[in-house]
Amino acid sequence: MSLILDVDHVGKTFVQGGLLSRREVEAVRDVSFSLDAERPEILSVVGESGSGKSTLAAMVLGRLVPTRGRILFEGGDVAAIRSRAGRRAFMARVQPVLQNPFEAFNPLKRVDRYLFATAANFVVGGGRTRAAIEERVDRALVEVGLTLAEVRGRFPHELSGGQLQRTAIARALIPEPRLLVADEPVSMVDASLRMAIVNLFGALRDRLGLSIIYITHDLATAYYISDRILIMRKGEVVERGAARAVLDNPQHPYSIALKQAVLTPDFG
């Protein structure tokens, strides 16, 4: 069995304050999980704000170096990537989708600029003509239900939050990655679109064989789409397993509290 991602007893400690008042905050504590290369899946990581979900995502993306433990992506240590070329090769395989699309795009720059820059970075070989790049960008946009014609030349404020988030996902799809790390990708979009994006994740998994780490606090969509789930609290994994089994019958008191806090839209 080959692993696409192996998170091995990973911890992250942040140090706050300076010389006089030094305080350590353990954001992630001894987290382990792995993703199988043969079986693409959606792994949900759920928990309240401050549970270390985003720190974990940042470590998987190689943005933060773990204090303890190792993260191996396709056998290579993520923290050991130093060179520009190595970083680029890694980012072609692992792409982020961020929480707030309004913050992900510079308001003073046109949105398509990011798409073209990503395409220019990652489209390799002789196909780096303007037309090839545009074709690639358009293909990625079509995957998320947009077209290049709609996005071209627009500034972030001219697009709705949902359109921006779809653009952000399209941008992540341009290098044709293996793993998508989506940090709260649907918390800013409405219900219909939320299902569209979550269904899109399912389709990307099934069609492109993409593994997705889906970080969320929305238990209902985690239940709906994910194969496995990790429930985190204060940096630790308190419960894990097959998503539906865990959420149908949570064991840890925190998981139970989390499930109870979900608003149910049922009337009688």
């Binding site: 309240e48 704000s49 219909s192 299902m195 149910t264």
Partner: protein
Amino acid sequence: MPTAVLQTPPAPAAAEPVLVVDRLRAYYRTHAFGLDRDIRAVDDISLTVAPGEVYGIAGESSSGKTTLIKTIVGAIRPPLAVVGGSVRFRFGGEIRDIYALTPAELQTIRWRHLSCILQGSMNVLNPVRQIRHSFQDFAFPHMGLKPAAFWQAVRAHLARLDLDPAVLDSYPHQLSGGMRQRTTIALATVCTPEFIVADEPTTALDVIVQRDVLTMLRDIQRRLGSSFLFVTHDMSVHATVSDRVGIVYAGRLVEEAETPTLFRGALHPYTQHLVASLPRIGDTTRRASLPGRPPSLADPPSGCRFHPRCPLAMDVCREKVPALVEAAPRHRVACFAVSGAPS
């Protein structure tokens, strides 16, 4: 069911409404390179809100929800312009037409009678000043109290909302997102306004904090007897807090009913889709998302704006605009498939 705690019986409909919005139209008007463009973000919307009622507004992104409430509270800046219709509030038995007021008169109504909790409103707190300054800047001029009495009122209000008065001495970054949101709610309600407009107040909060914030809002609403206009795209939030819900699609109100009616027996195909698309724990049936995408408000489809995505679309839907008519008592819907096509 824990949700039941937050449910209250719907407010009596008989009382004089606090807010009457009549045939409101507000467009973003741009004139560039000799080209005039209207973005019809609010197009012919009429609704009323009764005293003590929580009126929810739902709809997808870019359907004009935020523009609608901006127009209702009179926060209109170019290129947004009110093209027609009126917004009247009834404060203390006196009817105030928002668009007939001078800026100075509007100023006397804001905060005291009408206040807002906006999307990402934790960002209204100045990051480099202690929270006390935000209270002083926003609320003090409207309260008409001497400083000592003002601070006493603020502390009493915070205590009533189970917030530690020590938050006044904190900087915003020292508080969690949920605490900041609760502080801004305290700020918006400290003058005990009669009407509160809340735009996505819990979006981007996690489930546990969201529940706390909603419980707090509902509690304040009950205690002050205020009316709420509650805007969120999240139908499960509406199920929890709103007495009545109006569904906005592409700048128009397409359906309006009491919340249980809307969830059990929605008539408009768009509302039916919204309700059916909600994921639930324990249910893994596939949720379809609507085909197509939200229409451009600059060039909306002819006739019923939903027709390109509607499973029931008929010829008449492409030509005529369905009026919002009463299909049952307190249940209005704008759909030819429900009301029958005009002859």
